[in-house]
Amino acid sequence: MSNAGSEAMGGELGDGNRRNFLIKVTSVVGGAGVAAACVPFVASMNPSTDVLAKAETEVDLTGIPAGGVRTVAWQGKPVFIVHRTPEQIQSVSTTANTLDPEPDEKRVQRPEWLVVLGVCTHMGCVPNKEGLGWTCHCHGSQYDDSGRITRGPAPKNLEVPPYYFAADNKIIIGKTA
């Protein structure tokens, strides 16, 4: 009973090699099909097109006065947009007192507009704007007007999301130009 079975699978007999080759190739082709069939299932878990549409947020900058801050939602997270005054820009011109030194010029595309993610790099709370910079009331972290960390426990500066100026008064958050 089991003899017939093992002979069928054997590669040692006469044209067993040809048999084996056909079975091997068929198995590979079949396996490729099964793998390909998994793709739609896995892909369906990726963000759908309506979610991806929210991946970019358009912000109209008119109406934010000098010194003013606007918070907008981008991919479900808050983004702080600050129309900085010359004093604010001056206050962040050095990297002294910052725990994660990074020149302000590297963090902005135009000095009078700061665009940073309003998510504290410690545990993810949303910091409050207080005077010059922000304070996070969860554990006391402080950031300056460039969004750089000046007092811990947060380790890193506020993240700068990708954005570009579609016009002088309009930015698109979500991708670089």
Binding site: T26, V29, G30, D50, A53, E58
Partner: protein, 214 residues
């Protein structure tokens, strides 16, 4: 046994003849290329969407499909790309003017027996009744006005312009009802080819495996 099969076949053929007694539909050959569908979208958004919404289509879908960005921006005005194509008239106003809320058109091609052929025939099916108001051969109770002005075409004059307009509109609506159709057919051809090859191989594997049996 053979006679039984013959009887069954005869029954099924005669069934077909018995079933359909409604007005025969005009057949339409749909356009599936972007340009034609875009013309249909123009007509829809220019005229139809005054009353009809297409709430499952968003302006960004029109862009992804390949329609001209300036056209899409013109259609949406200051509504964000993400918004659905809603009717200009509110549903209650439309119901008040026509007696019935105009239905959403997102799935209309699928929601009617006869699909695209039915919609095409319906749009062209207006005629001038004795009372001097337009009626429709395919849906006599309709409250929708004769948007293509079919009923006022003179006897013997050419219908080709309204037919082209109706074809564009229905082509667009067919895309709206099934935006992934082209992708589905393309994937289908690949899947069929693959399965045919694999099944032939599996056939030979089966034959070889069984050839061992004494």
């Amino acid at each position: 046994m053979k006679t039984l099969i013959k009887i069954l076949l005869l029954c099924s053929i005669s069934l077909g003849a018995w079933a359909n007694e409604e007005a025969a539909l005009d057949k339409v050959i749909l356009e599936t290329d972007v340009k034609s569908v875009e013309r249909g979208a123009d007509a829809m958004i220019g005229a139809c969407h005054a009353c009809h919404s297409m709430k499952y289509v968003h302006y960004r879908d029109l862009l992804t499909y390949g329609m001209d960005k300036q056209k899409v921006d013109g259609w949406r005005g200051d509504q964000p790309l993400d918004s659905a194509v809603m009717a200009q008239m509110s549903e209650s106003d439309a119901a008040a003017s026509f007696g019935k809320a105009p239905p959403d058109l997102s799935l209309m091609v699928k929601a009617r027996e006869g699909g695209a052929n039915y919609l095409y025939s319906y749009l062209l099916g207006y005629y001038m009744t004795k009372e001097g108001v337009p009626g429709n051969h395919y849906y006599p109770e309709t409250k929708m006005p004769d948007v293509l002005n079919v009923s006022s075409i003179a006897e013997g004059a050419s219908h080709s312009e309204v037919q082209a307009q109706a074809r564009d509109i229905v082509s667009f609506l067919a895309w709206v009802a099934d935006p992934h159709e082209q992708e589905r057919l393309r994937l289908g051809y690949y899947v069929m080819a693959y399965l045919l090859v694999l099944t032939v191989m599996l056939y030979f594997v089966k034959k070889q495996v069984w050839s061992n049996l004494k």
